[in-house]
Symmetry: C2
Subunit: 364 residues, 2 copies
Amino acid sequence: RVFKLLVLPGDGIGPEIVRETLRVVDWARNAGLRIELSEALAGGASIDIVSAPIAEDVVEQALASDAVLFGAVGGPKWDHLPRAQRPEMGILRLRQALDLYANLRPAVCFDELLDASALKPELIRGLDILIVREATAGVYFSLPRANEVDADGARRAYDTQAYTEAEIARVCRTAFELARTRKRRVCSVDKANVMETGALWRAVATEVAADYPDVELSHMYADNCAMQLVRRPDQFDVIVTDNLFGDILSDAAAALTGSLGLLPSASLSGLDQGGDSRGLYEPIHGSAPDIAGQGVANPIATILSFALCLRWSFDRADLADALERAVRRVVSSGVRTPDIAEAGVAPVSTIQMTDAVLAALDTE
Amino acid sequence: RVFKLLVLPGDGIGPEIVRETLRVVDWARNAGLRIELSEALAGGASIDIVSAPIAEDVVEQALASDAVLFGAVGGPKWDHLPRAQRPEMGILRLRQALDLYANLRPAVCFDELLDASALKPELIRGLDILIVREATAGVYFSLPRANEVDADGARRAYDTQAYTEAEIARVCRTAFELARTRKRRVCSVDKANVMETGALWRAVATEVAADYPDVELSHMYADNCAMQLVRRPDQFDVIVTDNLFGDILSDAAAALTGSLGLLPSASLSGLDQGGDSRGLYEPIHGSAPDIAGQGVANPIATILSFALCLRWSFDRADLADALERAVRRVVSSGVRTPDIAEAGVAPVSTIQMTDAVLAALDTE
Ligand SMILES: CC(C)[C@H](C(=O)O)[C@@H](O)C(=O)O
Ligand SMILES: CC(C)[C@H](C(=O)O)[C@@H](O)C(=O)O
């Protein structure tokens, strides 16, 4: 079988880190994986050419692919544009068009970078939380929504957060399935004490749990979860939550680790590896326009995103494991791009970091 | 002038910490402040007697008062109740009925308790963030909202988040006014890149800022704010945000300080001290049913809430300052209830902690 991979480098450091990751894609090809590559525009790069953050034929192309490797989008050049025309809309459009309802955001601590964390080392050593964020419904996409002017000239805006039981159930199933490959604990996060969608969320999560008697389910309010993430992050294994809470809590969790520049993410339309489900893979960091074009960006988060692609879209957990081990060894050996370099360490370039990963893969 | 203070002890440790705080209220009376006290039921205590988390005549009484001192509500006994009948609805009802649109949540680090924080000491020493949360609109109160069953039997829930420009402007004004008494920096937090209400929030915050040329306004997305709070909390002075983001971010900020059990909050219908505006004052911690009735709860957050009441509702900043100084001195001298006691320190009781505060006030 030949897997189709669509590459969307995007803006800022996106093209640099994706270019290096393509060298790792070549390694996977040499290891026997058949990948058909194509590349297209997204984000500001797309706005500049076709006046839209993603062209409809690129969306079609993504729909016809097994996986999408996404760099990063956005930058000051497009900040003045109205919301619907901004670079970020490209990624939101893809999440919805490809039905990528399960946004997996691992918050993993690289113990070698422990000192870079704001938290005390003993609280985050070995930290490994997986946040499963619902990503195709909720306040991001529900209608009605508007910015209006009343008869008396006063402005008023509103958004809707809607969820069906099916939308909640499927992402909860993903969380429970993934928990089975981990510590078998799922914490479902909502504001059931305040929101109607929260009450439904809690009810459906509880129902889904009945099919997973081997996994422990707990419930937590979103405000308390934000607090607990800071106080005692190691109490969590898998967290499943809605689109908006997931956006906020996954960023908080990622920040805890101190390994922000290294963290990948996956957005899936299901877990049937090698089957029908589609995946989009991207680093959790942004486009970092301030350092774009200098060749110093850290490619690891994108390379690890490709590892997730190997695991979830290309059914090659063996290659994913090898790649993750190689990255770990490179980080352990002290190779550092400027973003993670300790004082006194001479940093390497984007290319050199990738060289190191490829060299480590050679000895896998 | 005689100030009317309504006391709502609530559930769990609420009655204990409020009882001790009333001794500090007596101190204020002895210092010449004329306070007319009354007490009523709220939360579970109210549910048990009148089958509602707050009775309408208690709401009337609150409306006729200058200030409300609130303990804490909730506990396992009432957890099975449907949302609308639960203890928490008491506080939500009061926020709306009294139009307490500005919920002030200081996240202040007591340097003596630095070691109790999950963060590295150098990141939070001297930390002093004020979160101004909108508390009477947004997803907490907007209509329509429902949990429905479709024709085909599938459940669907939705909530609405609505904001008018007036609702946004007034809480932003509060934030700017308060910033003038501090470091003159306001960070307005929203999801303007995703939500219609976020776009309006950003526009109105920017307009209000024009009246405060001496205060610096910045904007941040809520997910980034969660991240920045963890990474570099000292970049913030005043944060102003909506009801839901404020709920989550203020809990994250409070957790950072490690001084959770000591933090007060104020909910105000305006800043005209000693004027027409009403205030409700409560600790940010909960009712802690696990330690209720043992006489070991920490009364400091409630006592400091009364300090905020002295400042904002009773126009006695002098007494507020004296009380805050006294509490600082007690904490500095090493007096500790069990929740904040370091290993090897013999903890004191709720009453003894209050004794210490009153003794410190004697030497003010
Ligand atoms: C860019 C933005 C629209 C997006 C979101 O809010 O989902 C981002 O913050 C993310 O988490 O992927
Ligand atoms: C008890 C609950 C309804 C409340 C809220 O969500 O506002 C609480 O979390 C708070 O922050 O005061």
